[in-house]
């Protein structure tokens, strides 16, 4: 059984702490609750990379530590790997319009309230 950590109960991704080579189940430990649940790994996920805990749609906020770390740039299936190929950060980005960054900043404020 592979292992992953969910750092906050509201997170929709977990950090893989044993490299996943499917087929195989991942035991996800929720660090605040201490209890574990299982999901199926869909693809190879290296140590330290993120696994989706539910189906994510393009544009969804990605939550880790209970805070937004960016948004999905593609649909991501539960059990899939989450990384620079399918999510993007929005802060400090000179290549994006001002409005987009402000919107994201506001969603960050909401999430932390």
């Amino acid at each position: 059984m592979y292992r992953a950590l969910q750092l906050h109960p509201s997170d929709n991704v977990a950090v893989v702490i044993t490299e996943c080579n499917p087929p195989g189940k991942v035991s996800v430990t929720s660090s605040s609750r201490g209890e574990a649940f299982e999901i199926e790994a869909l693809e190879k996920i290296p140590f330290g990379h993120k696994i989706a805990l539910r189906d994510l749609a393009k544009g969804d906020l990605i939550l880790k530590y209970g805070r937004p770390i960016g948004r999905a740039t593609a649909n991501i299936a539960k059990g899939g790997v989450v990384g620079v190929h399918n999510i993007e950060g929005l802060r400090g980005r000179g290549d994006l319009g001002r409005q987009e960054v402000d919107d994201h900043r506001i969603s960050g404020i909401r999430a932390s309230e």
């Binding site: 880790k64 999510i87 950060g89 400090g92 000179g94």
Partner: protein
């Protein structure tokens, strides 16, 4: 929060005239202008027990940046690890007023520690200044060697932290372990300073909410805003700059994700204040200091703010697989740079250079609370005289003061 048990713990330190306690006992050679870098460098090479700070210097820099460099010099001299300072100058009135040797020396002498000034003009030339500096430094290090270590409470410690080559363990094991140690030390009356302003972007609201004073929360948000605007002004996707390619390889995908992992190192204590670059905290407690994340910049900057020890909290997943070089060697100048990691694989492959591993948090061998206590015990040992692994090496990386720019 911290455990009261630690408040009674002592370390063996060098007590200074101002009651501060050093964990090392150096003589610092400061070149007041880059013209005399060669003098400071030769003296430091010749005399055991000395340290110097060689940088690109002050020329073509605006007032704010010149003040940063001035504060860096003064701060390093005031650091409790310094027994005394020799300031090297060219001649009176040479160069920018901020670096006038007599003015630097006056600020440095407020510690009550020995401060001497040597001027090339008065010594009769470059090589005569080197010769006179060597003689003076040799006398001063011998005086310094007569100071004995004595037990002092750990509340006299100020520890700085830099997290580097972050990977997924940084936010899960390494930084939380440092954070736990920080809570223990702060409860015991000590000081902890964290920094790296760009790596607050995305986590700034959580940090600001912990500031004891409203004005500090406001200043912190302003610092982050300035950093974010500077990043935006590049017109680039920040991910081509920070997170670094190595962070991304190791599983960190966005700057926000890196920041949220990075702030775990601040523990849970209230933030007593927000410091400008190289500013010394007015009283003990947990502080944030404006600073640049570079491994060649932040350690000495934290030392200038008064940290006797700087801990480098390394992720390191993306490093080469056997005996990798460290990201920085001895860039704390007067403060030893201690290497820790929360990544068990980094601990194994870099065991020749890692002083402390919290990797057991990942493998399930220990809790964050246990790792934090073990880290504080290690800090006490290093504070009492145990060398860091980096200190056993005769090499110093180049130094990069944190300048705002632009240059003219």
């Amino acid at each position: 929060m911290g455990d009261r048990r630690w408040t009674t713990i002592e370390f063996l330190g060098y007590v200074r005239p101002n009651e501060e306690a050093g964990i090392r006992n150096y003589v610092l050679i400061v070149p007041s202008t880059r013209l005399v870098n060669i003098v400071a460098s030769r003296i430091a090479k010749y005399v055991n027990g000395t340290k110097t700070i060689i940088t690109g210097g002050e020329n073509g820099r605006h007032k704010k940046d010149r003040m940063r460099l001035r504060n860096l010099y003064i701060g390093l001299s005031l650091n409790a690890n310094v027994y005394g300072t020799i300031v090297i100058g060219a001649k009176a009135g040479f160069g920018y007023a901020e670096f006038e040797p007599s003015s630097l020396a006056q600020e440095m002498a407020k510690s009550g520690k020995p401060v001497r000034v040597l001027m090339v003009e008065e010594c009769g030339g470059l090589e005569k200044t080197v010769a006179e500096g060597i003689a003076l430094a040799r006398e001063m290090v011998q005086e310094a060697s007569r100071v004995r270590r004595e037990p002092v409470p750990i509340g006299k410690l100020a520890v700085g932290v830099k997290c580097g080559l972050s990977d997924a363990t940084s936010g899960i094991s390494g930084n939380p372990t440092f954070g736990r140690m920080s809570d223990l030390l702060v409860t015991a009356g000590g000081t902890v300073i964290f920094s790296e302003t760009v790596e607050l972007i995305g986590a700034e609201l959580d940090v600001a909410a912990r500031c004891e004073r409203e004005e500090d929360a406001r200043r912190l948000l302003e610092m982050v805003h300035e950093a974010e605007e500077a990043a935006r002004a590049t017109g680039e996707d920040i991910r081509t700059i920070n997170p670094l390619p190595s962070n991304i390889q190791a599983g960190i995908s966005t700057l926000e994700e890196k920041s949220l992992g990075a702030i775990q190192k601040s523990g849970t204590s209230p933030i007593r204040g927000v410091l400008e670059y190289a500013q010394r905290p007015p009283q003990p407690g947990l502080y944030f200091m404006d600073g640049w994340m570079s491994s060649f910049s932040l350690p000495m900057s934290l030392a200038a703010a008064g940290c006797q020890l700087v801990i480098y909290q390394l992720g390191g997943e993306d490093l080469p697989s056997a005996d990798p070089p460290m990201l920085a060697t001895n860039t704390g100048v007067v403060a030893p740079l201690m290497m820790m990691t929360g990544n068990p694989r980094t601990a194994q492959k870099a065991h020749r250079n890692i002083d402390f591993s919290a990797g057991g948090v990942i493998t399930g061998e220990c809790s964050i609370a246990e790792a934090g206590e073990a880290l504080l015990a290690k800090v006490c040992s290093i504070a009492s005289g145990e060398w860091t692994k980096g200190e056993t090496v005769c090499y110093e990386d180049p130094l990069e003061p944190y300048f705002l720019g632009p240059v003219f």
